[in-house]
Symmetry: C2
Subunit: 258 residues, 2 copies
DNA sequence: ATAGGCTACTGGTCTGATGAGTAGATCGTC
DNA sequence: GACGATCTACTCATCAGACCAGTAGCCTAT
């Protein structure tokens, strides 16, 4: 899709022609495979043919195939494992490429954890708000995730359910962008905080209580409250990381609820 | 940064060791160049050494270098032009990779234009809200963009200034994620709408007026109003595209202001 | 039954060659 | 001297073939 990325501009002036598109061989390969994955003709966990097979199917050299696979890998669409018979694995995780952008910016010290949390507060609270007017099925999917969280044993499990809960909320509104971004930033946060120390060993009951309240608000169709609680939840969870920096801003937004 | 993406999980259990990281040669090349670009040691429009030079500098083969360059290109960090002496050009546009994800989803019909607009409403209005409490310099940068828009002649120019205006707002809050996402989605929208027909030939005075109001709200420090106006602005601008689908939801959010 | 090695695949990297494109120098004409 | 066409020396794009390294399943020997 690099051609589309490049093909911007000049919507206004009167030129009828546009630059010749010189398609490169590897781009064609990328597009074909990408399309197949995004249209779900190739499903998750399925395998692509081996590089040697792709050579004959696409009629290009191995180097070309490999360049294409590298791009697809960097976009989170496939995973390539050295030596694995069976070929590249379809991952179909577009969020991965967003995660990688964010990671890079973070490691280049052009982005702080507080920035990420702030952004998550905006996006996740909006998602929660939309979820409040979502379909019955979507809401019950959220409830299901909540109940699963109630019965977790290990901390690891709890974390996974937490992610699932928020993911379901993001999906409820029906706008894939929310799920995409929430996913990506969750992934980033789990990596980033894991590399230092984890802040999530809060009392389990506390976390559960907040989630319960969010769920209640969504089920009651109270978008405003669902959004507010989401913000509060994030602020509270990442307090040790975000620190007092954003605190005053938050106090203004989040009512002193507890 | 793919290793980081992969290096998730197991934060809870008691294992001391973690999987051996098998670093691939091309990943090392990607990381080094990526770091240099994101740290701005390599600035925009600057050139990377030619592939043959990179071979000796990194001590790897050409194929490896090329795989790395492909990844960097797909992330919007560099541009490679066939035959250009002087080598790859540093673009440093992390938003490009986000744009490309969104484009792909869109073309796979898993994302509608309305979805994108909705997401933009959330993000841009939040950004406008934060801008209301931004530094004096940041606000005057916004004002500067507005005044430049007043004096545009061509439609093309006006469009550019419009983008700049919103970009400055996104930057004002100091959180790079807003600028990143706003940029990426603007880019996507300009591509997507350009491919059909452009909806932006509204009366110029109308657009200007709304922007003026947003600017006023920001300068007055009225976050709530700035956010609201941003939402309204988007809804109005993309009315012919979004259509009546989201209309009722918008009516609830946006006051009947005009 | 199972731990250990064997084997037939996989991807990772290298070498070296040829084709295609660009930008600037060179040259010939006016 | 100004100007356009050609030449040249680079660039990237792609290919072909080789070898190393890793994986998973089979297959022995215990």
């Amino acid at each position: 899709m690099d051609d589309k990325t490049r093909a911007k501009g000049d919507p206004g002036s009167g030129t009828v022609f546009h630059k010749t598109v010189k398609r490169r061989a590897y781009e064609d390969v990328v597009d074909q495979i990408e399309r197949a994955i995004l249209r779900r003709e190739l499903k998750k966990e399925e395998r692509l043919p081996s590089e040697r097979d792709l050579i004959v199917q696409f009629g290009v050299s191995r180097a070309t195939i490999r360049e294409a696979l590298r791009v697809l890998q960097s976009r989170g669409l496939i995973e390539v494992r050295h030596g694995d018979p069976g070929g590249p694995i379809v991952r179909a995780d577009p969020g991965a490429s967003v995660t990688s952008v964010v990671s890079s910016l973070f490691h280049a010290e052009r982005l702080s954890l507080a920035d990420v949390i702030q952004f998550r507060m905006v996006v996740e609270s909006a998602a929660a708000g939309f979820a409040a007017s979502a379909s019955k099925e979507a809401v019950s999917a959220i409830r299901e995730a909540y109940h699963r969280m109630e019965t977790t044993a290990t901390l690891e499990e709890q974390f996974q359910c937490d992610v699932l809960f928020h993911r379901r909320i993001a999906e409820a509104g029906g706008n894939p962008l929310f799920a995409l971004v929430v996913d990506a930033l969750h992934q980033f946060n789990s990596i980033a905080t894991w590399q230092s120390r984890r802040p999530l060993d809060k009392a389990r009951s506390d976390t559960l209580a907040v989630h319960r309240l969010i769920l209640d608000a969504i089920e009651a169709g109270d978008a405003e409250r669902a959004a507010e609680l989401s913000r509060y939840h994030l602020a509270k969870s990442y307090e040790p990381i975000v620190g007092p920096i954003d605190r005053k801003r938050l106090e203004r937004i989040v009512p002193t609820w507890k």
